[in-house]
């Protein structure tokens, strides 16, 4: 009897320890609760993270090489007219719930995505002209999708389209990515389990992903998130602020990673809306390229990067970050800090500096306010530094911080502001993704949204070039057009680009194979290849 008991106990212990060794769980935080699990309706970071971890895509943009790689599709071809893309699908794949994957699922996903009433943000990026999108199932593993007009960077856009099942009862919860959502404790945490039907294998033929589950804690308090990382309760923080980064470098340097300039930039612009409720003489200043260039040259970008961002940013050049390897126009350089040149430009427009006060040609003192969002300490710091820099050329600047909805209301509805300091978060490398910013008729053409016709010759030229690049398939010709757009934006400065922020992250030393990059998601872009140290796995 004693022997039997001993054997049972030994087996139980052995099984228990084996389980503890094999069951690995990655833990990190989401800053808010995901708003949706429907991959086509994703618009904020948390939902995007869940989509990235669970969604299977036809083609995947390798975040490190910035090149497209096969995903659910083994092969794809864009037609000469740029309207049609044909995919050959990987055979024998299944969704996480066991439902088979076929061309019908691709057709269903595209049909859902392009449904006008859904207002899918991803669907909007495919909309290039009036008319219906058609999906033709050529075989169980072949599908062709035709759009009413050419779509620039068509294949690359499919990196964002997670394929949904047309027949699964679980709807969007049946997925083709490395993980699936197994538990959702609203407001508390999400549990993702390894998808048993995930198609990828490593070089040795072992099924991926290596990590069995992911726990995503909802944690909006950033201080707490970092504290939890230092205590070893979570394994990574995908994006951290320069201040936290510096703190981490001092306390636990092995955890801190700076991948260099990201795609995100900080910029300011002047209100050029013709109907805005601001004085006519101020409108005239803001509409002058000389005035905007002078302001740009009077701002010390190096100092902004060094002081406001603790050296983890670089003076910005323009629309495109140097991190965007293909589309960045490398002939351009950041505007130098040169207050003499700034004053000379202002003199061309009749401005005069007297007793440290700048006045325009009609004697009006040059004074304006910059609005920015309250609570963002980096922008608040930048605004204060800009205030000091512009005082050097006699301009009086007032800094006004507003809560984010109030700021959005001012820049999109009431236009009751003079200048605004804000950031641009770029998730896509292709210039097609910024069409709604640079076309003069677009709502996000922030210095003067929704122009009936281009207000200036250079805006008309940008419109022409943006449309030309969007309707051309040859990437090198597209780049020529977009290089010119970058040059015009650099000369005219409707947006005064200030700094390009670095991609900072924190990664536990127990997590291996992590290669932080500048593209989102910076740390877990290769989630299926990440590994956790066995001792960490045993403690969870």
């Amino acid at each position: 009897m004693r022997r039997v008991l001993f054997t049972v106990l030994s087996l139980w212990l052995a099984f228990g320890s084996a389980r503890a060794q094999s069951a690995t769980q990655l833990r990190f935080c989401l800053r808010s609760e995901p708003k949706t699990f429907n991959p086509l309706l994703v618009e904020e970071d948390s939902s995007d993270t869940v989509r990235y971890l669970t969604g299977g895509v036809l083609v995947r943009l390798n975040r490190k090489t910035q090149k497209l790689e096969p995903g659910l599709a083994t092969d794809w071809k864009v037609s000469r007219d740029g309207r049609t893309i044909a995919f050959t699908l990987r055979p024998g794949l299944k969704f996480s719930d066991g439902t088979s994957f076929s061309a019908a699922d691709v057709a269903y996903t595209v049909q859902q995505m392009m449904e006008p009433s859904l207002h899918s943000p991803i669907g909007d990026t495919f909309r290039s002209g009036e008319g219906a999108t058609e999906s033709k199932i050529l075989a169980a593993d072949k599908v062709a999708i035709s759009f009413p007009a050419p779509v620039a960077g068509l294949d690359r856009l499919f990196d964002q389209v997670a394929i949904m099942s047309a027949s699964s009862a679980k709807k969007e919860m049946a997925v083709l990515g490395p993980y699936y959502v197994s538990e959702n404790h609203a407001g508390s945490y999400l549990m993702l389990e390894r998808n048993p039907n995930y198609w990828r294998q490593d070089a040795a033929g072992r099924p991926l992903p290596y990590i069995d589950s992911i726990r995503l804690d909802i944690q909006q308090n950033r201080d707490l998130e970092l504290l939890r990382l230092e205590r070893g309760e979570i394994d990574l923080v995908n994006s951290i602020d320069p201040e936290y980064y510096e703190k981490l470098v001092k306390e636990k340097p092995a955890l801190a990673h700076d991948a260099g300039p990201s795609l995100d930039s900080e910029h300011m612009w002047f209100n050029q809306v013709p109907t805005a409720a601001i004085s006519d003489y101020k409108k005239a200043w803001f509409q002058s390229a000389n005035f905007r260039r002078a302001v740009s040259e009077a701002i010390n970008r190096q100092d902004l990067a060094r002081i406001a961002f603790r050296g983890h940013a670089r003076p910005a050049v323009g629309i495109v970050s140097p991190a965007n390897q293909f589309w960045f126009n490398d002939k351009l350089r950041p505007h130098p800090f040169d207050q003499k040149s700034a004053l000379q430009r202002l003199q061309k427009d009749g401005f005069r500096l007297h007793d440290g006060v700048l006045r325009d040609v009609n004697g009006h003192v040059v004074e304006f306010s910059i609005i920015t969002n309250a609570g963002n300490r980096y922008r608040e710091r930048m605004a204060t530094m800009i205030q000091q820099d512009l005082a050097g050329v006699g301009m009086k600047v007032n800094v006004v911080t507003l809560d984010f909805p109030s700021l959005i209301e001012r820049i999109t509805r009431t236009f009751t502001y003079e200048a605004c300091l804000l950031g641009l978060v770029n998730t896509d490398l292709d210039p097609a993704s910024v069409m709604n910013v640079w076309l003069s008729s677009a709502e996000n053409h922030q210095w003067s949204p929704g122009e009936k016709k281009p207000a200036t010759a250079w805006e008309a030229e940008i419109d022409r070039l943006m449309r030309a690049q969007a309707s051309t398939l040859d990437d090198h010709r597209r780049k020529q057009y977009f290089d010119r757009v970058q040059e015009i934006a650099w000369e005219q400065e409707p947006f005064i680009y200030l700094v390009t922020k670095n991609a900072l992250s924190a990664i536990s030393t127990s997590l291996s194979n992590a290669q932080p990059v500048v593209l989102r998601p910076q740390v877990f872009w290769n989630v299926d290849e990440l590994k956790l140290a066995p001792e960490v796995a045993a403690t969870r």
């Binding site: 808010s32 609760e33 708003k35 949706t36 618009e43 006008p116 207002h119 943000p121 991803i122 909007d124 990026t125 909309r127 404790h185 609203a186 407001g187 508390s188 909802i218 944690q219 909006q220 308090n221 201080d223 707490l224 504290l227 809560d403 984010f404 909805p405 109030s406 959005i408 209301e409 999109t412 509805r413 641009l424 896509d428 993704s433 910024v434 709604n436 910013v437 008729s441 677009a442 709502e443 996000n444 929704g450």
Partner: protein
Amino acid sequence: MQRLLRHAALILVTVLLGGLLGATLVRFSPAFGVDEAELDPRRSSASIESIRRAKGEERNIPAFYLHYLGRMAKGNLGTSRTLNRPVLELVVTRLPETVKSVILGLLVGWGAGLLLAIPIAMFRSWALDIAASTLAAILLCVPTAVFALLFVVLRTPGRLVIALIVFPKVFRYARNLLVKSALLPHVLTARAKGLGNLRVFARHILPNVAPQLSSLAGVSVSLAFTAAIPVEVLCDLPGIGQLAWKAALGRDLYLLVNLTMIITLITLMANCAADLARPQGARA
């Protein structure tokens, strides 16, 4: 029974008026109807227009409120715009978390408050009185958010912050009441006649202070719910306090109206229970 019905009618009217007032305040708050998604560069003009149109439907408050009440009668509390979920589902999942925090906070706060106030009144312990009064004064001066952050750093359950908010109020009020009652002539006579402390407290002091303490109980419930908002936000506790904060930042009309009504209902019910618990004579 009549008293109960009168209270119920009063609660219903106040809750409905509270909901209407809440909706009006949200409607006229700055940047009502603005959505961050409008800045998404991927969005086409048609998409942005659709977002604005959807928010525009909530601008007419009388129409919104009537429509809302009609739906509420059918058990539909609307959908939260910030979290994209039915409000009923959000409340059902989040309310237990807050109730747990509030009950724990009230129990610990009341327990500590009475545990210190009773010996001070009964044994005239001046050292204890000075120590406890100083502690209560310090706790009253420190903002709730500071306690919450401190608890996060010290890895202490954030729910206990509510107890620190409730404790000084309960202690100071209970101490003053008990000390005053302990000096009443009939209590002094009872003591002079040799009645034990426990008997004096149970028979002569407690009945005297019970009506006022029950009023304080009602007030402390609303105090605890108010404290739950910063505590849940800073300690990342997924309760309705955190929900209310998010709803306020996002000008989420449906969520805010419902939360206003729920908090009003709970506060009024607590006050009503305290009121009903008091004997008729004490109320008069």
